[in-house]
Amino acid sequence: MGSLIGIDVGGTYTDAVRISDGFIDKKGKIPTDQEDILSTIIAALDYLQIADSPEIDYITVSTTLVTNAILQKTLPEVRMILFPGSGMKLTALPWPVSYTTLAGEMDYRGRIVTEPDPAEWQLLAEEIKRLATKPLLAIVSKFSHRNSFFEEKLAAFLESEVPGIRMALGSRYGHTNFYRRSLTTYLNLAAEGLFVRFADDLHQALASRGCLAPVRVLKADGGVLPLDKIRPVESVYSGPAASVLGAMAQSSLEKSYVVVDIGGTTTDIGLVLSGSPLISTHGAQIGPFLTNVRSLAVRSLSVGGDSAVIVNEGEIILADHRLGPAYCIGGSVPTPTDAIRYLNLSDYGDYNKAEQGLMTLLPEDKRDKKNARDLAERIVKIMTEKIALAIEQLLEEWKAEPAYKVWEVFHHHADFKLSIQLSGGGAPGIISTLAKRMNMDTVLVEHSEVSNAIGAAMAKPTFSWTLHLDTQFRIYRIEETGEQGCWSGPKKPQRVVEDFLRDLVQSHASSLGINGDDLEKDIFDYFPLVENYHTVGQIIRGAMHVPPGVTGRVKA
């Protein structure tokens, strides 16, 4: 067996780790250059001396590339074309982008209620033809996850009128929620160019170092996919997912715990229940964009070891931004890292400088060791309290997850005995205060400072296929990809349908280079369709997953 490489690009530092046969044989942190993620990743790979490691199984990267581009609004413009039909007013929800609406309506089973208007399509084509630069087009119709007909038809029409135009269809994100599906389609199309360039450059850089190892990208749901198979928008917020996986790779199987990863800029909090990370019921939110990107249920708190500490009229405030590194390593503003250093809870940074930094926050007549110590303790306490509140919120959210079946309600939230798995640079500094505040066993993970990179390196590919089958209309669809097809089986298929889905999943998995053997099956729902007291068919919903997880445990 060869080596696994994990790179997690964080806000302040990029963690890098090389794992061989389960043992960590190289680990380190490289400062992140947010302006140049690619160089940062290459620097991390060089640090790991990949050129000397010929047998690398995988390089797995968790990157902030797309997240940053979305938040900094550097993505190219996309023209959004919607078929909203009737229902709630589009203006009821905030659209962070402008859109054009077209006539044509579909109902919840994908039946056409109103046909589109060809004259509108013609006008649209003429308008696009006149534009000097051809826009990117995201086309989304309400209920296109039930029937992609309008989207496909319009795309074909525009392709014939304006050949070569780049388009993306909402039905390829076959989840329900027109609003989120529209914004997800938009973001993915907008990020595609950026991501393709990134992938090319990364491949080239690796080749120049004689490395041909496959590169995988970590997704928000904690799974990985090959660099050239991932949909760019799925790579958002993979940092928190890396934290959760990192804890999983360093904890015993089947345990339930809260993951707290304290970075320089942010603290990520996640939840693992009986060895499985909790998935959010909604999709990820990226800045003003609500998406249906599947993600782990995590909270990212903008507080970390490098948060600036400010005193305002005697009140100590932890700012939700950082102003350079901690005072004790040459920064200009005192931070929790300084407080932790001063209390000797870590040996990172210079003790005297930490003291110096803390003194700047004290009134001139109170600059002595006793007051500095009190101040440091208060800073740690404030940070602990912020983290504790965020943990409580996440637990609250988990308990408020909706349930749609009698069985689910009666088996909701079995009592889990939770502990805390703590990681990240600032972790040793708050371990005891956090344990006390939460009244939970709190454990520092072994390779705390590079836990995220370990998570990335050891992440499993994830995979989820959800079938929606309407045997009355003889149509099936796959939610994750929008694939549609005809159903030729019986009207009340029962078990046949599970085999049908399994076959589809296996063939798709192999096309992604994923082993689809350890599939988990959800309970399938069968809804009888009754008309005039006769059963005319069934609507069946079922899903199979390879859930997120890690390929093994790190050996000590």
Binding site: G87, K89, F143, K405, F527, P528, V530, T535
Partner: protein, 445 residues
């Protein structure tokens, strides 16, 4: 802006049978519609998690015979529990209003329960109301039941309760289940005029219902000065409903909701699974949350001729004159086991359509000018040779009525083998089996 709480509990794994209208698919398309619209992403909407009601909350309001264990209540307890979650959220001011989009329904379940009637076993709204009174001390509550069927169960539970105004709009009982809900039913001797029934002509439509709401119902509600308004939001008035023949549209339901301004709405019936429910639920939700619902348009259009405005209005005006003229008349009984006081007596038979049997009831009410009065109900399921007794001491009971309740229990323990007492005043439930006091199942006194 309103903050609207929602619990969506479609009970996808529960039904009364494959060919039954109350089946698992009932809210499937509602889910498709509201999730696809992104309604749950509206900033003013907060989705809550369903919860299971404690049986004690049920027994405070309904006597379950022979006992709760004899019924399969799981799904019903979740429908009830979910509405209590919203009740709590409302009282904690987490929300300004709420909609429990739950099944199964409940408004045909009455004060005594031997089985399932009209798809109902537990009365969600009634249990909710008494929970809010017992827990938060709410005094006066108005219920507007907009299901196409008469809310006979809710009426039965609150018939003697002067602090609950029950108003039911429904298709005339001569043409529709359960065959009750006439203008003559106006409340018991201590709660006269706390019940208002408005039987409507088939085909009444949006216009007629809105006329009744504006000119009759809402003025009546306002005069009552309730602390809270609950809407039993049945959706079977829709023009596509297979069980009824009113002519109401989804947008009509939006307007109805806007006029009633319920603090809490609870889904009741509605069996046009494809044509009505997704659209009405959406319209109600949007109306509650203060959003524009004018874009909610069903694919089908009403095809029956709606009754014309004038005809409906003159029918309603006649009906109102008739309703106002109804005068009370009571039968008194003086049986040996009755404590001191004047006792009004009434007999009735209740048909359980789902299970096909009758319940016979003998109701006694202690006439009282100070409180709602003690209620005594002898209930029989003759087909099973079973009998149960319910004694209810009302909220705000006067000392004489509370004493009368305990005297009744003492007298009847000797002759009756199953007695349940709801002491709503003290928030206690007692049960006696064969002369012995037993703990009501699962209920912590």
């Amino acid at each position: 802006m309103n903050k609207t709480g929602v619990i969506f509990f479609p009970a996808f794994d529960w039904s009364l049978g494959e060919l039954h209208p109350e089946r698992e698919e009932r809210l499937l398309y509602t889910q498709e519609q509201i999730f696809e619209e992104g309604i749950m992403d509206l900033p003013q909407i907060k989705q809550f998690s369903p919860s299971v009601a404690d049986i004690g909350n049920v027994l405070r309001t309904q006597a379950i015979f022979p006992g709760p264990k004899n019924h399969s209540l799981d799904a019903h307890l979740i429908a009830v529990g979910s509405s209590l979650v919203l009740g709590n959220a409302l009282m904690n001011q987490e929300i300004t209003n709420g909609f429990a989009m739950v099944r199964p329904p409940g408004h045909h379940a009455g004060a005594t329960v031997w089985g399932n009637r009209g798809f109902c076993t537990l009365n969600t709204e009634a249990i909710l109301i008494n929970y809010l009174r017992a827990t938060y001390g709410i005094k006066r509550i108005a219920v507007v039941d907009t299901d196409v069927h008469h809310g006979d169960g809710t009426q039965d539970i609150f018939y003697h309760d002067p602090n609950v105004l029950f108003i039911s709009l429904h298709q005339d009982g001569r043409t529709l289940y359960p065959g009750t809900g006439f203008v003559e039913e106006k409340g018991g001797p201590n709660a006269w005029d706390s019940v208002l029934n408005i039987p409507l002509l088939p085909g009444t439509g949006d216009e007629g219902i809105l006329y009744a709401l504006e000119n009759w119902i809402m003025p009546r509600v306002e005069a009552f000065k309730p602390d809270m308004i609950i809407n039993s939001a049945g959706q079977d008035n829709h023009f596509t409903d297979p069980l009824a023949s009113m002519n109401v549209t989804a947008r009509g339901y939006g307007k109805i909701t806007e006029r009633i301004k319920p603090d809490l709405a609870v889904l009741e019936g509605g069996y046009s699974i494809e044509g009505a429910l997704p659209y009405i639920n959406m319209a109600i939700l949007l109306a509650l949350s203060g959003e524009d619902y004018s874009g909610v348009i069903e694919p089908q259009r009403p095809k029956d001729k709606a009754l014309h405005g004038d005809a409906v209005i003159s029918y309603l005006n006649d009906l109102r004159r008739k309703q106002e003229k109804v005068a009370p008349s009571w039968n008194y009984r003086n049986d040996s086991f009755l404590p001191e006081g004047k006792w009004v007596y009434n007999e009735k038979s209740i048909y359980y359509d789902t299970d096909g049997f009758n319940e016979h009831r003998k109701d006694y009410i202690r006439q009282c000018s100070h409180c709602g009065g003690t209620v005594l109900i002898f209930s029989q399921k003759p087909s099973a040779f079973q009998k149960g007794v319910l004694i209810r001491i009302p909220f705000d009971a006067c000392p004489q009525c509370e004493q009368a309740g305990y005297d009744l229990a003492e007298n009847l323990i000797k002759s009756e083998n199953m007695i349940m007492m709801q002491n709503q005043l003290k928030n206690k439930v007692h049960m006696w089996h064969n002369g012995e006091e037993v703990s009501p199942f699962g209920f912590k006194n």
